[in-house]
């Protein structure tokens, strides 16, 4: 802002373009991008008790127990019924709705890819499983 004293123009002290707000805003944008895109790539599915408590969960009352065995990438066994992988959520949802503990015990064949195993865990979670125990860990 220019000031005038007795009609004379007083030159201001700073003549440079102030770069600080520009740098500031761009750094904030960098931070926002860093948080929203690359940091969002990793999340996780918590296995409450992998090995030992998986066994203890397996010892729960049979009516409350939902047991999934991942046989292959395309087929799973839910409470001794062999079904296609695509039909898992349709079978799990009513079972989990009836279950008091909402605990799902998962077994997996050694040859099954990790991605298929995780997709079963993910589907169990999204169907309403409160706790997932993995047997054989």
């Amino acid at each position: 802002m220019r000031r005038y004293t007795r009609g004379k123009r007083v030159p201001e002290g700073i003549h440079d373009v102030n770069m600080t707000p520009l740098i500031d805003v761009s750094l904030v944008l960098v931070v926002i991008l860093m948080i929203t895109t690359p940091m969002a790539f990793q999340s996780g599915i918590q296995i409450r008790n992998a090995a030992t408590s998986g066994r203890s969960a397996a010892e729960k009352v049979r009516t409350e127990r939902i047991e999934i065995t991942v046989v292959s990438a395309d087929s799973v066994i839910v409470n001794r019924n062999l079904i296609l992988r695509s039909g898992l959520s349709g079978m799990l949802r009513p079972l989990l709705a009836l279950s008091a503990t909402k605990t799902v015990v998962v077994r997996c064949n050694d040859k099954v890819p990790h991605g298929s195993f995780v997709s079963v865990l993910d589907e169990a979670k999204s169907c309403g499983a409160a706790q997932i125990a993995v047997i054989g860990g």
Partner: protein, 140 residues
């Protein structure tokens, strides 16, 4: 008569606010990038999942890459030394009840992941999680 501006109204001090502002932003950048530095730089294609939990928490990560190489946090390790290293790591005072995250490649056989989970369990891990990549709407 026109009133003159008193000289003591002029701001003669250096404005430190922008410096503090930029410095704080840099601090935030460092805070954000610090957790990224604690993971080994191995090629891992994490499995995708819609559900998410067990995040934004300090953890010890075990990475199993697509090439079968292993790392604990940012340290590369052989499968023979994994158990001993994990045991020493988890026995540290600051790692009591810490979350152990298994970051395995989606193409790895479950057998390898099962082996990692059992080794982590044997080393004293009380809380375990499997790392996933958040599935977005477009990838569903």
């Amino acid at each position: 008569m026109r009133r003159q501006v008193a000289p003591h109204f002029m701001i003669t001090k250096i404005n430190v606010t922008p410096i503090i502002d930029v410095a704080l932003v840099l601090v935030i950048i460092l805070l954000v990038t610090a957790p990224l530095m604690s993971v080994a730089d191995l090629p891992v294609d994490l499995p995708q999942a819609r559900t998410r939990e067990a995040e934004d928490e300090r953890n010890v990560s075990i990475t199993l890459s697509s090439t079968g190489r292993l790392a604990v946090d940012d340290k590369m390790i052989s499968s023979e030394d994994l158990g001993a290293y994990l045991r020493s790591k988890l026995s540290m005072h600051e790692n009591q009840n810490v979350l152990v995250v298994v970051r395995a490649d989606s193409g790895a056989p479950y057998e390898a992941v099962r082996h990692l989970l059992s080794q982590a369990k044997a080393a004293g891990a009380s809380r375990l999680a499997i790392a996933t990549r958040q599935k977005t709407e477009s990838t569903r």
